[in-house]
């Protein structure tokens, strides 16, 4: 376990707690961003990915170079997470326009009332 792995696991846990406990949708999205960030941190700080030299060029030793695979993985993950977060924010904006609140419980109740009418 590197320090990065420990921080990543703590961050994932904290963010999940925030996702449940914060009723404000904007905070929920921030929590989601934290979850995504923690997975990125986890991938690049795996013990196997250890190494500080860039894994490109001539004469780079495999023992000191960073593992290129996790770098490639997090690049893809960051892009996807950005798209998801941006889309989620659009949904929140449209919901706020309609219900004038960012409180998840209230929106849930208002949507249900409209459905039953």
């Amino acid at each position: 376990m590197t320090p990065g792995v420990v921080v990543a696991i703590l961050l994932f846990g904290l963010a999940t707690v925030a996702l449940v406990l914060r009723r404000d949708l904007v905070f929920k999205l921030l929590a989601l961003g934290m979850i995504n960030g923690s997975t990125v941190l986890l991938l690049v700080s795996l013990p196997r990915a250890h190494g500080t030299t860039a894994p490109i060029g001539v004469g780079v030793l495999p023992t000191t170079a960073a593992d290129p695979f996790p770098q490639a993985y997090v690049l893809a993950a960051i892009v996807i997470n950005f798209a998801l977060l941006a889309l989620a924010l659009v949904f929140v904006m449209l919901l706020v326009e309609r219900y004038h609140t960012t409180d998840a419980r209230r929106i849930e109740r208002l949507v249900r009332e409209e459905e039953e009418r």
Binding site: K28, T39, L43, R48, I80, L87, F91, R105
Partner: protein
């Protein structure tokens, strides 16, 4: 065989073309469908004749590269994808959708077709995320507040699930140095008792399960599938959820998930059928049944033999066809009657057009498992491929629950007047009904279905009628009771907690089965 890699590329190019095609967009979509269908047909023939196809994209083999594998499960789901894609295009041909709708559809088909052939965890992660990204947009496409809220809940829960999945991927990478499923399979076989295997398996299963329609994990599903436009519901229940289930199957081929899948399958099946039984809205009831029918497939995956896994895949395909049919029929009926509430539909049943009647009739017969339509054979295939007495009892219980909850549709199953239904929608109903019947009639002759013997079929038929009758009877006994099952679990916060709880249960189950 670069055909396997060509399929997603074709649909992505077509998506780009759709955004600039203007009024010709429907022709672009139709042309793409035709090209895609021919490619899938070629892949089908190649796989049936000479077994699984392996392609290394970019020429890097094994653990370094991206490997695509098309096996029997892939071609089964690819064929389902082509059929449903075509039916959605037919269904929406009258709706004058904009280019962006078709573009989204093509991106979704590209992602789904790539999921079916993916053979590494990171590709599955990216493609499942892309597929659901398109789903969120399609669920919220009409921007009704219910749709937006259902879609946002779907997004938040699925993202949490994908977070768990990626952490599982990181554990796998740390211990094997690759996310390739083949490499992973060898590593697990070499050291089946290593403690990381249980952790990785639980993280990956919980993550994929959020998208696979497993009851305690996919609590976003009833709302999203119920409020989406009918054709999109058909696509979500027919294809998108199935891709998650396929991912679960891929995981089950690597990790020792048998016990966990049996437990999850049973819970999913029973709770799904129970909620469907007391549901008053037709589309929401169908959504709950997507959950309960995924339970069947999970029970089959839990048996652990390749034949049972293929039987589960056959059931996924059969369910994809008839659930799409039911959703499209429900959409037409709700349009004509002005509501999708079952009591309103019953009062106004004179108005339900012929196309909706046919769709609901064929779909109901199929999902209840009466011969000779798809559901009967696929369910028979699961029981024929072995499993314990416990499994057979569980499957029988699920069949009774299914029949009981569909018994309340009986007054709607009538062949009414033709009504005013767009030609494209009629065509979609016709194609899917024909598909359900043909799939049922030809399944016994497919490779791998030798366990379906004629002598056993009579017993199977008798049993399925018996189970349907038992279901009908239990509905009759329960019909006066109006039980309100707890709805709180479908709130966002409770659903997140449910995912975490289910993850812990899966960890415990994997620990116990070791």
């Amino acid at each position: 065989m670069m055909l396997v890699a060509a399929l997603p590329v074709l649909h992505l190019l077509s998506a780009a073309l759709c955004t600039v095609a203007g009024r010709a967009v429907r022709w672009v979509a139709a042309g793409t469908w035709l090209a895609g269908a021919s490619v899938v047909a070629a892949i089908d023939v190649a796989v049936i004749q000479s077994g699984a196809i392996r392609v290394s994209v970019g020429g890097w083999a094994g653990r370094w590269g991206i490997e695509l594998v098309a096996d029997e499960a892939s071609v089964a789901l690819l064929s389902l994808l082509v059929l449903l894609h075509g039916c959605v295009l037919l269904h929406e041909s009258a709706a004058r959708r904009r280019g962006s709708f078709y573009a989204l559809l093509q991106v979704g088909v590209a992602a789904a077709s790539a999921v079916t052939v993916s053979n590494d965890l990171f590709n599955l992660f990216v493609l499942l995320d892309l597929l659901t990204l398109v789903s969120y947009l399609l669920v919220g496409y009409e921007r009704r507040p219910q749709q937006l809220w259902a879609s946002l809940k779907y997004l938040l829960l699925a993202s949490l699930g994908m977070g768990l999945f990626l952490v599982g991927g990181a554990v796998v990478y740390e211990h094997t140095g690759s996310m390739n499923l083949g490499v992973l399979r060898e590593a697990v076989a070499a050291a089946p008792d290593a403690p990381w295997i249980g952790l990785a398996g639980a993280l990956l299963l919980a993550g994929a399960g959020v998208k696979a329609g497993i009851f305690v994990l996919s609590l976003w599903l009833p709302a999203a599938h119920a409020v989406a436009p009918p054709a999109i519901s058909a696509l979500l229940s027919g294809v998108v959820v199935k891709m998650g289930s396929l991912c679960v199957l891929r995981l089950a081929s690597v990790f020792p998930l048998a016990t966990a899948l049996t437990v999850l399958g049973l819970v999913t099946g029973i709770l799904g059928a129970l909620y469907a039984l007391f549901e008053k809205d037709l589309k929401r009831m169908l959504a709950f049944h997507t959950l309960s029918q995924i339970g069947y497939a999970l029970l089959a995956f839990g048996v652990g033999s390749p034949a049972a896994a293929l039987a589960g895949v056959a059931y996924l395909v059969a369910h994809g066809v008839f659930k799409a049919l039911l959703f499209i029929g429900a959409g037409i009926a709700a349009d004509a009657a002005g509501s999708s509430r079952i009591d309103v539909l019953r009062v106004r049943r004179e108005r339900i057009p012929l196309a909706a009647g046919v769709a609901l009739l064929v779909g109901t017969v199929s999902i209840v498992g009466l011969p000779p339509i798809a559901g009967f054979w696929a369910k028979g295939l699961i029981t024929a491929t072995g499993g314990s007495t416990f499994l057979h009892a569980a499957l029988a219980l699920l069949a009774v629950g299914t029949a009981a909850s569909f018994a309340k549709l009986l007054p709607l199953l009538r062949l009414g007047p033709p009504g005013r239904v767009a030609a494209g929608r009629r065509a979609a109903v016709g194609v899917l009904s024909l598909g359900a019947v043909l799939f049922g009639l030809t399944l016994p002759f497919w490779p791998g279905s030798e366990s379906l013997r004629v002598g056993k079929l009579l017993a199977d038929a008798a049993r399925s009628f018996g189970l349907a009758a038992a279901g009908g009877l239990s509905f009759f006994l329960l019909r006066r009771r109006s039980i309100r099952l707890p709805r709180g679990a479908f709130f966002l916060e409770e659903a997140v907690l449910s995912v975490l709880l289910a993850f812990l249960v899966i960890v415990a189950l994997l620990g116990a089965s070791r």
